[in-house]
């Protein structure tokens, strides 16, 4: 099983509610700020974008790269985090 970070586990453990976008796995301070500037200030907004892209990995990764210049690892972490959250709660 691939290892998941503590941040990932904490996010997936409960409904995201009003958690900030920094709470997403792979999204740190810098990326979080960039996303907030684009208007994605809460994790649920990024979730919205994820769902609009029909949970497609490639499209979501491209979107992350275009929006906040996330690298491959960060893209993967964020995608995995949201995907698992959706599997658990959606």
């Amino acid at each position: 099983m691939s290892s998941t970070s503590q941040k990932h586990k904490d996010f997936v453990a409960e409904p995201m509610g009003e958690k900030p976008v920094n709470a997403l796995a792979g999204i740190g301070e810098v990326l979080g700020k960039r996303l907030e500037e684009k208007g994605f200030d809460k994790a649920y907004v990024v979730l919205g974008q994820f769902l609009v892209l029909k949970k497609d990995e490639e499209l979501f990764r491209d979107w992350l790269k275009d929006t906040c210049s996330a690298n491959t690892k960060q893209q993967g972490d964020c995608f995995g985090c949201l995907k698992e959250w959706c599997d658990a709660f959606l």
Binding site: K9, W63, D87
Partner: protein, 382 residues
């Protein structure tokens, strides 16, 4: 200006064939004369080339391909959402809602698809140019091209593998069959290669990405995937038919309830453009929200730090009680043994019997009394 326009009658028959195929013109029967090819070429391709003049043939073809790409890119920005969706569907991509935030992504995707297809066209035409008239020379030429083209093929395969990793599982299987088809199309047996090529070209349109379609891979097997090259065409054609166009990755199972039918109809009306494939309309049964309406929440990671601490504390509490109990039992046992041993001295035994079980402290006090009485007894015995 017409001086620069090359007379197709000067082209070789195979060159004419490949150019017709590159321009998606239906080829005449195999044993038709060169003149028929020339006529077709003049009819279709000359019309396209009107206005596009360049000195070299290859440059002309490259310019054509480039200009087609440019035209497509320009047109992309003029496409409406529905048109963009339709074009993506033509390339086999099932697009989601095209909204402000997703439009740019889908345009990029379309561009990538078109570029990869354009590359396939250009490479195919160049390969056609390298062929000579006679069949024997063609076979030799194919083998040489196969060996020389393997290096170029490796780079494209790397791109392929990168794309495949990023994409869904449909990607590699689609490209395998497409590539093996493209490779097998140029076979030494000329009699049915042309019709096969036409069929595969048409089928390739239904797939989204097939770079490297007409590369030569007779001698050099670059990867294991290419090993399917030498098989006859019919089974490969069948597998291509089985390949469904790319659709969204099926992560969670789709559960369709019969009560969902009225909802399904409205969704169908909303998305008229979407194909009615088995998984086309993603109207999944909504699982109940966990944690709501008294439903128990099943956490994936239930052991939060607080629960772990609680469990440890509980573990410590229970043994403590057992330890105290055991202590008292042992103390009583020892006292009874002492009393039984000391049968001589009845007085302390009776005194002790008069004051039964007064708690741990009194028992300890009694034990102390017993100890103090032991010493005078011992002294008496001496």
């Amino acid at each position: 200006m017409s001086l620069f326009m090359e007379d197709p009658a000067h082209f070789s028959k195979s060159r004419l064939k490949s150019e017709l195929v590159a321009h998606n013109v239906v080829l005449p029967p195999v044993k038709s004369r060169k003149e028929i090819y020339v006529d077709l070429h003049l009819k279709h391709i000359a019309q396209k080339n009107a206005g596009d003049f360049s000195s070299d043939d290859e440059d002309q073809e490259n310019d054509l391909a480039a200009k087609e790409e440019d035209a497509e890119i320009l047109v992309q920005s003029c496409l409406t959402d529905d048109d963009l969706k339709a074009v993506l569907l033509k390339h086999g991509v099932k697009a989601g809602p095209i909204v402000a935030s997703t439009r740019a992504l889908y345009e990029n995707k379309l561009r990538r698809l078109q570029q990869s297809e354009g590359q396939g066209h250009v490479n195919g035409v160049e390969k056609g140019v390298l062929y000579s008239d006679s069949e024997e020379e063609e076979e030799q030429g194919e083998q040489e091209d196969g060996e020389s083209g393997s290096e170029g093929a490796k780079e494209e395969i790397d791109e392929l593998s990168n794309q495949a990793q990023q994409g869904s599982s449909q990607f590699p299987s689609g490209t395998h069959s497409a590539v093996s088809n493209g490779g097998s199309s140029i076979s030494p047996q000329q009699s049915f290669s042309i019709t096969e090529m036409v069929q595969e070209m048409e089928k390739r349109k239904s797939l989204f990405s097939c770079p490297n379609t007409e590369r030569e891979l007779n001698g050099s097997n670059v990867q294991e995937h290419w090993s399917r090259f030498n098989r006859p065409d019919t089974p490969i054609v069948d597998t291509m038919k089985n390949q469904s166009p790319y659709y969204t990755p099926k992560e969670s199972p789709y559960k369709m309830k019969p009560s969902q039918e009225p909802v399904k109809d409205t969704i169908k009306e909303m998305f008229l453009n979407m194909e009615a494939s088995p998984t086309g309309i993603c109207a999944t049964r909504r699982r109940p929200i966990k944690g709501a309406a008294g439903r128990p929440v099943q956490y994936i990671y239930p052991d939060s730090p607080t629960t772990i601490e609680r469990r440890e504390v509980e573990r410590r509490l229970v043994p403590i009680h057992i330890q105290i109990l055991v202590f008292f039992i042992v103390a009583c046992l020892l006292y009874i043994i002492y009393v039984c041993v000391e049968e001589n001295s009845f007085n302390p035994f009776v005194a002790l019997l008069d004051s039964p079980g007064q708690g741990s402290e009194s028992e300890e006090g009694l034990v102390l009394q017993a100890e103090t009485q032991v010493t005078p007894v011992i002294s008496r015995q001496e």
